[in-house]
């Protein structure tokens, strides 16, 4: 294959990867702080996607403008989930937490099935088929917008965690649970906030992904797995890691398609996951927390 194809593939992978990274940010935030593995991740994202779809159908709202709305709505969902449900099982062993979230995930998927039906649905945007041409490089317009949106949201999140008081409080809980309680932080409320923020991230990512992909209820598990692969490769609990992991997976999927067969690209991602789990389970930028 020629250089032009490869370069086009790399650019496309980079852009898509940024969106993957945004989706994984939600997972990383939740796990990094609360130490809960959110198996309903993909399902929450599908809810965000359907919300954006509805907003588009009823108000003609471009998904990019729906991002704040979806983020806010999913924040509430996440907050409620942590506060009323997840909090009660934090003392239970891993497999019970997994099962609870899996049960919730199943409920969400079935709810979507009943309300929206099993068929794939998408938004029809005017600029959906446009592309920028820079010499031999042809870049999909929608992908560029999506990547920019992902960067904006991710930056807001990073700024929040770095500079705001609540952000620092949340990081304190993650670094030292006991110390945080000793100092008097309301850990329960902060955990609920964290889950809400993570869910908001997922919602935003869902809106953005709707630009690129059609939504249907069974899309969820694939995205849950994808987010896990990204977060593990990039590093659980590291925000930059999630973005970096996203880019790596995005690019490797593209390259695997070009060099091998496109039907093997998911296998390649899983292979990468296995290798990372074995050699460096904390991921590229993660901290070794056991």
């Amino acid at each position: 294959m020629d250089t032009v194809t490869v370069i086009n593939a790399l650019v496309s992978g980079l852009l898509t990867g940024l969106v993957y990274g945004l989706s994984a940010l939600g997972l990383s935030v939740i796990f990094g702080v609360i130490r809960i593995v959110n198996f309903a991740h993909g399902e929450l994202m599908v809810v965000g996607m359907f919300l954006a779809l509805m907003l588009f159908r009823w108000f003609g709202l471009d998904p990019l403008w729906s991002v704040p709305i979806c983020a806010a709505l999913l924040f509430c969902v996440g907050y409620a989930l942590q506060h009323f449900v997840v909090r009660r099982v934090s003392y239970l062993p891993d497999h019970m937490q997994f099962l609870l979230l899996a049960g919730i995930a199943i409920m969400i998927v079935s709810g979507c099935l009943v309300i929206f039906g099993p068929d794939a649905q998408g938004v029809q945007l005017d600029y959906a088929l446009d592309s920028f041409a820079i010499g031999n490089l042809i870049v999909d317009k929608v992908r560029v917008y999506a990547a920019i949106a992902a960067i904006v949201v991710a930056s807001l999140l990073l700024l929040f965690f770095k500079y705001s008081a609540t952000g620092r409080a949340i990081r304190a809980c993650a670094d030292n649970y006991l110390g945080a309680r000793v100092v008097g932080l309301n850990v329960d409320r902060l955990y609920a906030l964290t889950f809400g923020i993570g869910a908001a991230c997922i919602g935003a990512a869902g809106c953005i992904i709707l630009l690129l992909v059609q939504v249907h209820p069974y899309l969820a598990p694939a995205y849950t797995l994808l987010a896990f692969v990204v977060v593990i490769v990039g590093g659980m609990g590291s925000l930059f890691g999630a973005l970096l992991g996203g880019i790596m997976i995005g690019v490797s999927e593209e390259l695997a398609s070009v060099v091998l067969q496109p039907s093997l690209k998911t296998a390649f991602s899983f292979g990468l996951l296995i290798v990372v789990l074995l050699l460096r389970p904390q991921g590229l930028l993660g901290r070794v927390v056991r």
Binding site: V37, V85, R88, V89, L92, D94, H95, M96, F98, L99, L100, A102, G103, I104, A105, I106, M107, I108, V109, S110, G111, L113, V114, G117, P118, P217, P221, L225, F228, V229, I232, Q261, S263, L264, T266, A267, F270, G271, L273, I274, L277, L278, L279, P281
Partner: protein, 343 residues
């Protein structure tokens, strides 16, 4: 038996009699459902070994079933190797895979969630490889030869015969699994396993070889799943990677034991007996709801059924995390309290 109260013994005998007599009194439909029920009970026992006894959560167990199914199916289709011999290959390959995953898990000290993700990754990886494996049918599927004589008579060597035959085969497997686990659990290995599960550091301090006993659990678990794969292949006679190794299959395997009670002996069986009929009843109930106009006609049955399912599972986790079976045992006084056992 010594652990059971009189009520418990009566219940057990009633159960055994009912299971043995089922094919004579039940319709073809109930027979098929019972086969699925017993299959899940068997698989639940196998899976339970890894989590309940070795402390490893596996969400990719369908991988071992798939390997067993494809191995024995391929040998039968290509070279006419009967399943009674093919099962050896199936178990060997499944165990090999289990050994690889187990070894990697221990060597690199991966546990908990990370281990679960490792099992998912391996399962999906192999599934996609199988999709591309032409000699095993790939996405077109592997079809075991079926003739008009295949569903008649009783041919145990080739696993061909009446549906009733399949029922007894899986019944024997499920009962055998139960007895095997019981024997192991009550023996020395059982004590080592429980020590490792409850407090690995203390166990190591006392001199228990953690690696060896955990690996044993993993190998046994994967091997048993491999046998299930052979049954699957010869009962359904067609194998598609997505159907056999899909992640839905893996999750399905975990439902019965978790609902019944992880780490208990009878939990997986109880869980299977509760969930399978529940699923069928739900489908029935939903069609009735449609008939009475409570639900719209074009609402898909699948969606509503899944919703009840997820709800039930979440409810059980919130209210009865140790599983339903211990609770049922207590309420119905089926088991003697710890102080009175050992007669």
């Amino acid at each position: 038996m010594s652990d059971l109260t009189i009520a418990g013994r009566a219940a057990l005998i009633a159960l055994v009699v009912a299971l043995l007599a089922l094919p004579w009194i039940a319709s073809g439909y109930i027979l098929s459902v019972s086969i699925i029920c017993l299959y899940l009970a068997y698989m639940g026992q196998a899976w339970n070994l890894m989590l309940g006894f070795a402390g490893l959560l596996s969400i990719g167990h369908a991988l071992f079933v798939g390997l067993g199914a494809y191995a024995s199916g391929f040998l039968f289709t290509k070279w006419g190797v009967p399943p009674v011999i093919g099962v050896a290959a199936a178990v060997a390959i499944a165990m090999l895979m289990g050994a690889i995953i187990g070894y990697l898990g221990f060597r690199f000290a991966i546990s908990g969630v990370y281990f679960a993700l490792l099992t998912i990754a391996f399962s999906e990886f192999v599934r996609i490889l199988l999709d591309h494996a032409k000699f095993l049918g790939g996405t077109e599927g592997l079809f075991l030869p079926v003739t008009q004589a295949s569903r008649r008579g009783v041919d145990l060597l080739n696993l061909r015969g009446w549906t009733e035959m399949y029922y007894y085969v899986i019944l024997v497997l499920a009962a055998g699994a139960f007895l095997l686990c019981r024997a192991l659990l009550h023996g020395r290995i059982g004590y080592y396993w429980r020590a490792i599960r409850d407090n690995p550091e203390a166990a190591a301090a006392v001199g228990v070889d953690i690696f060896r006993f955990r690996m044993f659990a993993v190998l046994l678990s994967s091997g048993m799943a491999g046998v299930a794969g052979v049954f699957y292949a010869f009962y359904y006679n067609n194998l598609f990677p997505e159907q056999v190794l899909g992640i839905e299959r893996s999750i399905e395997i975990t439902l019965a034991p978790i609902v019944g009670g992880v780490g208990t002996l009878f939990g997986p069986i109880f869980g299977a007996f509760v969930l399978t009929p529940l699923g069928e009843l739900l489908t029935d109930f939903i069609s009735h709801l449609k008939g009475w106009g409570i639900i719209g006609k074009d609402v898909k049955v699948d969606g509503v059924k899944l919703m009840f399912w997820g709800f039930t599972v979440a409810l059980i986790v919130l209210l009865k995390p140790t599983g339903l079976w211990p609770w049922v045992c207590q309420r119905l006084h089926l088991v003697k309290p710890p102080g009175q056992r050992g007669s």
